[in-house]
């Protein structure tokens, strides 16, 4: 027996993987999954790496599994979209060493561009999915997942959500299992070469495997739990929703599922038989309710209906079931919001300022620089998914053509470029596309906590990786007009942007290279405003260190926040910003 430790769901999964003998971990960062691979990388005797994207991560993981290693692969929910291609066929090949995929969903979209439920993937791909409801379960289920993966010869998904991944709860960790010997790899083309002749065979096996998983899911071994309460209300739930239900409806009978795909249908039916009304409570999805209906069970709706989108909470469930909802004080109306902003000194700022001066149509992408969409910069027309800046810009070009006066620009970060912008750019070059692509190379993957990527060469476990030369990569693709520019030099940015957008018939790539301010934390002497005319130009930069006196309308710089980057000084036509 080991001590109780306070672990987040992410840390618990990492710990369990190492204890289960996983020796390889792969992933691509993404909130709320990121800390899982970071914690795994700190374990003894394991190898971990950030890959360029989730598809690559899952393929590396599948290779490691085929080679015999127990392997962990981590990603956020939208990453599962990217990894879907190998996922569906890995469910045919099956595994060598146990392969566990952590998919962390973000209902409520705390830090994501959409909310989607990874259950659908497990169902569509015919893989097993486990749903922890706290860190102890995350630990126990993730550990068990490796054996299950080998037993059923299938990748196992552990589905977490932001409230599981980022909530610390006590965990009783166990001693590490004797590390199972890596399963020896033996050539077996009928298992691993998925060409039609072999895939047809594996497809049949896959379906029979699903039947075995169904039988297991309904067995006493499976991590499902019934809490008997008032027989008038029965609730089927899993994950964080279980915790909310337990609190909001303390009297209800609850079937708490630990395995959600395949659905333990027999268990659900017998639970349903014992209650008057059966409800399903889940977050931003109808996966469970649909599966329960398909099992032939009638699902009742609570009087006030459950929300169809967003995160659940005990209060939302209380309201749905017509229970009294506690009241707090009335909100104070009109409080100014406090949205995140680009940091003082952020190298992304000037690029957006200059692009907005060109009245460009700006296809943005995912990263800190998405904040360039917010006022006062307001420099973004679209932002959809990683890599889309480059490809959507090409689409805009096709639609608008040469007659439209507005230049089209794609803006993408270095990590996002490596993730999927690269293949978009190759497509644009191949199709002789035009426009301007700005790569904001801040030397890191800033948004998710400054992970390494191919363009800074830093690896997750501190080994020296290979740093790719961004400008040479872009040139090698066949982009003729590529330049590297210092984004803190306003004149240089302006000249480069002007030239690129003026040349409407060609493709320009501008690489803005300067480290993220959180990376180096170089704080120089702050600036101050000496003789302000109140023109307000400095305020249009959206720097959190710059404010305006309400009475005089003149600007000031907060010396605590200013890091002395000098961006605003370059914009002040009256030389009023000095130090």
């Amino acid at each position: 027996m080991k001590d109780m430790m306070l672990l987040s769901g992410n840390e618990a999964v990492a710990r369990a993987a190492a204890d289960a003998g996983a020796t390889v971990g792969t992933g691509y960062p993404g909130t709320p999954s990121t800390e899982t691979l970071e914690a795994f990388a700190r374990e003894e005797g394991v190898y971990a790496e950030w890959c360029t994207n989730e598809k690559v991560a899952l393929e590396v993981a599948l290779g490691a599994s085929a080679g015999g290693a127990r392997t962990l692969c981590t990603m956020k929910h939208v990453g599962v979209n990217v990894a879907a291609d190998p996922l569906f066929t890995a469910a045919y090949t099956g595994v060598g060493g146990g392969l566990v995929i952590l998919a962390a969903d973000d209902p409520g979209m705390h830090s994501s561009q959409n909310e989607q439920d990874s259950h659908w993937y497990a169902q569509a791909a015919h893989v097993l999915m486990l749903d922890p409801a706290d860190s102890q379960e995350a630990h126990d289920l993730a550990r068990e997942a490796f054996s299950l993966s080998e037993r059923f010869d299938v990748p196992v998904m552990v589905r977490s959500t932001v409230r599981i991944a980022h909530t610390k709860t006590p965990v009783q960790v166990q001693d590490a299992a004797a590390r199972p010997d890596a399963r020896p790899y033996e050539k077996d083309a009928s298992k691993w070469v998925m060409m039609p002749a072999f895939a047809k065979g594996r497809r049949v096996e896959q379906l029979s495997r699903v039947e075995e998983m169904r039988a297991w899911a309904d067995s006493a071994e499976a991590p499902n739990r019934i809490i008997l309460g008032d027989a008038r209300i029965g609730v089927v739930c899993a994950g964080a929703a279980f915790q909310h239900v337990r609190e909001a409806l303390p009297d209800a009978s609850i079937l708490k599922l630990g395995v959600t795909c395949p659905l333990p249908a027999e268990t659900v039916r017998s639970f349903a038989d014992g209650v008057d009304e059966l409800y399903v409570v889940e977050e931003a999805s109808t996966y469970l309710a649909d599966a329960v209906c398909a099992a032939g069970v009638q699902v009742s709706q609570p009087v006030n209906g459950l929300p169809k989108a967003g995160e659940l909470s005990p209060n939302l469930i209380r309201h749905a079931f017509g229970r009294p909802v506690p009241e707090g004080s009335a909100p104070v109306e009109g409080l100014p919001a406090r949205p995140p902003a680009l940091c003082p000194g952020c190298p992304h700022r000037v690029v957006f300022k200059e692009l907005s001066r060109q009245k460009a149509i700006i296809c943005g992408d995912i990263g800190c620089y998405t904040l360039g969409a917010l006022p006062p910069l307001s420099a973004m027309d679209a932002c959809v998914d990683m890599g889309a800046s480059v490809s959507m810009a090409h689409g805009f070009e096709l639609a608008l053509g040469a007659d439209d006066g507005r230049p089209v620009v794609g803006v993408i970060g270095d990590s996002t470029f490596a993730h999927s912008g690269l293949s978009s750019l190759i497509s644009t070059v191949y199709n002789a596309g035009a426009g301007t692509i700005c790569i904001l190379d801040n030397r890191t993957t800033a948004m998710t906590g400054r992970q390494g990527n191919p363009f800074n060469g830093q690896q997750i476990q501190g080994r020296a990786g290979v740093e790719l030369d961004l400008e040479r990569v872009v040139s090698a693709i066949g982009v003729e007009h590529v330049r590297t520019v210092d984004p803190n030099d306003v004149e240089a940015v302006r000249a480069a942007v002007r030239e690129a957008v003026r040349e409407k018939d060609r493709l320009d790539v501008l690489i803005f290279k300067s480290p993220c301010v959180l990376l180096e934390r170089k704080v120089q002497r702050p600036y101050y405003v000496a003789s302000c005319t109140g023109c307000g130009v400095c305020l249009t930069l959206g720097c959190p260190a710059i404010g305006k006196y309400p009475d005089t309308g003149l600007s000031y710089i907060d010396p605590q926040m200013c890091i002395g980057c000098g961006q605003c000084e370059q914009y002040c036509r009256f030389n009023a910003i000095v130090r």
Partner: protein
């Protein structure tokens, strides 16, 4: 079970405060859940940490009217959190207000009478930065606030103090202990240890 909401602005030390609370709860044999929403924390956004402590802790989310205690590291965030506070709850507020960008640039305004609104909400306003400075630990405003909340947290002061010791960097242990005690004294002097 008690639910405690810590709210503030990225970089104010809410996470360390939450870790101290959790550590103390765990050491005293209670269940605890600490839920953080981060990601944008370093970029000046509002941050909050929800803590549930006690026996039979279920949900980690604090909705309207569910917080027994709100510890706000910023006065504007305190006002924003008011709907979360139980009618009989305790509100402890750092006497600081970091203006959001929209206010700095004149695009939005703060309520006319922030202090009046906090007074109406029966807040204990703690000059935490000044108190921390006096205690010789200018960066420990978060620990001062914990000290001020010590008597309502349902955890023994000894456990809390022990947790402060184990959670802060070793070199700063003494200064943080002083900050914790100073916060406690402040609350006692205000006669606010009754609830």
């Amino acid at each position: 079970m008690k639910k405690i909401l810590l709210c503030g602005v990225g970089g104010q030390g809410t996470i360390l405060a939450a870790n101290i609370l959790a550590e103390a709860a765990l050491a005293s044999g209670q269940e605890v859940k600490v839920s953080e929403i981060h990601g944008m924390a370093q970029r000046g956004g509002a941050v909050s940490t929800m803590i549930a402590v006690g026996h039979d802790v279920a949900s980690m989310v604090i909705g309207e009217g569910e917080a027994d205690i709100v510890i706000a590291f910023d006065k504007l965030e305190a006002l924003r959190a008011l709907p979360s506070l139980k009618r009989s709850g305790t509100l402890i507020v750092n006497d600081e207000l970091i203006k959001p960008a929209s206010v700095l640039t004149g695009k939005a305004q703060l309520p006319d009478d922030v202090d009046g609104l906090l007074f109406q909400a029966d807040a204990l306003v703690v000059p935490a930065e000044a108190t921390a400075r006096e205690a010789g630990s200018p960066k420990s405003a978060n620990v001062v606030l914990l000290g001020a909340a010590a008597d309502v947290l349902g955890l023994s002061a000894e456990m809390l103090q022990e947790a402060v010791r184990s959670c802060v960097p070793p070199k700063t242990v003494e200064a943080n202990e002083r900050a914790f005690q100073a916060g406690r004294r402040f609350a006692e002097e205000q006669g606010r240890d009754v609830r």
